[in-house]
Amino acid sequence: MSYVLTTLTKKREVDSVIRDTIDKVLVLRFGRASDAECMQLDDILAKSAREVSKFATVALVDIDSEDVQVYVKYFDITLTPSSVFFFNAHHMKMDCGTADHTKWIGAFRRKQDFIDVVEANYRGAMKGKLIVNCPLPPERIPRYQLLYKDM
């Protein structure tokens, strides 16, 4: 399914995507295309990319690529797949009731969930908010355990 969406392997490419997406939410998925959960997420992303195309862009970033490690460290990506949301080169945080507000970890259950999340991000961004609340109920949010820093 990553044939439909652009896969980025270089920092330069990621930079250009972030800088060129103006007034639209940018969803950057960090993960490995061969991983099962990642494949699930990619499937959902590919199917809904067109539907949200008016207010969002979706791009995939390969975590294994060397060039991108800087971003992997900067965004603190430890569990895959992780999706980071940007709006006008500013990072959008989302409070899903999990420990990590900076990204979405895991896959989405349904297309509609993804669309709702992106819409929530867009609405918040248009109002000038850097952190938005997640519109999904807790049962549809994938749970994980976050290790403490420096452990």
Binding site: R19, D20, P81, H91, L130, R143, Y144
Partner: protein, 401 residues
Amino acid sequence: MAENWRGECSNPNAKTLVPGKQDDSSKKNKKKKETGSQFEFCTVCNLNHDQGQRHKYFPSHKKSLSACLSRFESKLADVRFFLRNPAALRPEHASRNRFWCIFCDVDVEELGSSFACYYNSSNAINHLSSVDHLKSLKHFMWKYGGGMDRLDSFRILDADVTKWRKKCATLKKEAALSEDRCHGPLSGLSNDIHREPNIGIVDHFEDNYTVYPLKSSILNGVTPLQYNTNEQQILYPEIAGGPNAGSLPTKLVSSNASLHSADDSNGVEGNVHSGAAPPWLDSSEHSLVDYNIKSFSVNVASHSNKLEKSRKLNPKRVGAAWAEKRKIEMELEKRGEIAKKECDSGWLPNFGRVWQSGSRKESRREFEMEKQTLLKKETESEISKEIQPYISKRIRKDAAE
């Protein structure tokens, strides 16, 4: 990769939904109980609310209030015009001259005005200068938080009223003088049909074509007087022009200001009986059409402006300034004025890290520092990893010698 949620972490930044929820709802309940006042009706917002005195400070109320007051002010603008330029009142137009005074909750009409007050908006002027109106105005402003410094824009001051009355009096005198001079039975200022001399006009109506000046002419300011050789015509004095001996032909025109120009050209020529075309069809047609077109285009422009405004992106949105800059850059790049510059490899987007407390710049700084320490470690390890070939002692000795 996703694991089960085990418990809260000690990160102060993380939010937990469950315990927080109850607190919020209880706070809300408390707030509701505190207001506890009865429902009142706000005439400005046209709704019932139980917010009591607080309601008048809410932004929605403030918006509706300002809209309301500006509407009233525009209605008063007409009245103020007549205050400065008193003009004779026509009974058929009197019905158009009423307005609803929002402060007194009363309809102020011109119909049924007394004999002495037959000037345009005289009723309105009297009402707006009255003490009762001032009282209700003050009460309204207090109740709806209108701002007590703006009171004078919603009423007419006594000084202005006296000036207006003087002007009316002079007009009246002049009209009376001209009336004496006129052949015709009527050159009085009013169309008051109750007045005895006016009855003469009614009789003459069959014979003569009497034309009356209209309010619209006032709106346009000064109108040149036109003389008609037709003796039968009996006319009323124009406001700005003042009464003249002789008759003034003026046509029955609609209150469209642009049509007034038509009067000037056609006035001398004829009237219905002489077979002339009505002014609104003749040369005025162009001005009328132009006026319509102009007003239409103005409306369209304003409408499209409104649409454009609503389509404009919120300037408060996230990264708005950056987006504008970037758009301009891209425009220029497209046109080829600026060479597409590759962003430097050190560029990082605005990101707030997970364990960060403080602004996002902090997180970037942290990251930069981490990067540097990492680099140092790497270079150090590289240096230490340098493998050197083994040189035997004998050779070393020889080299030293």
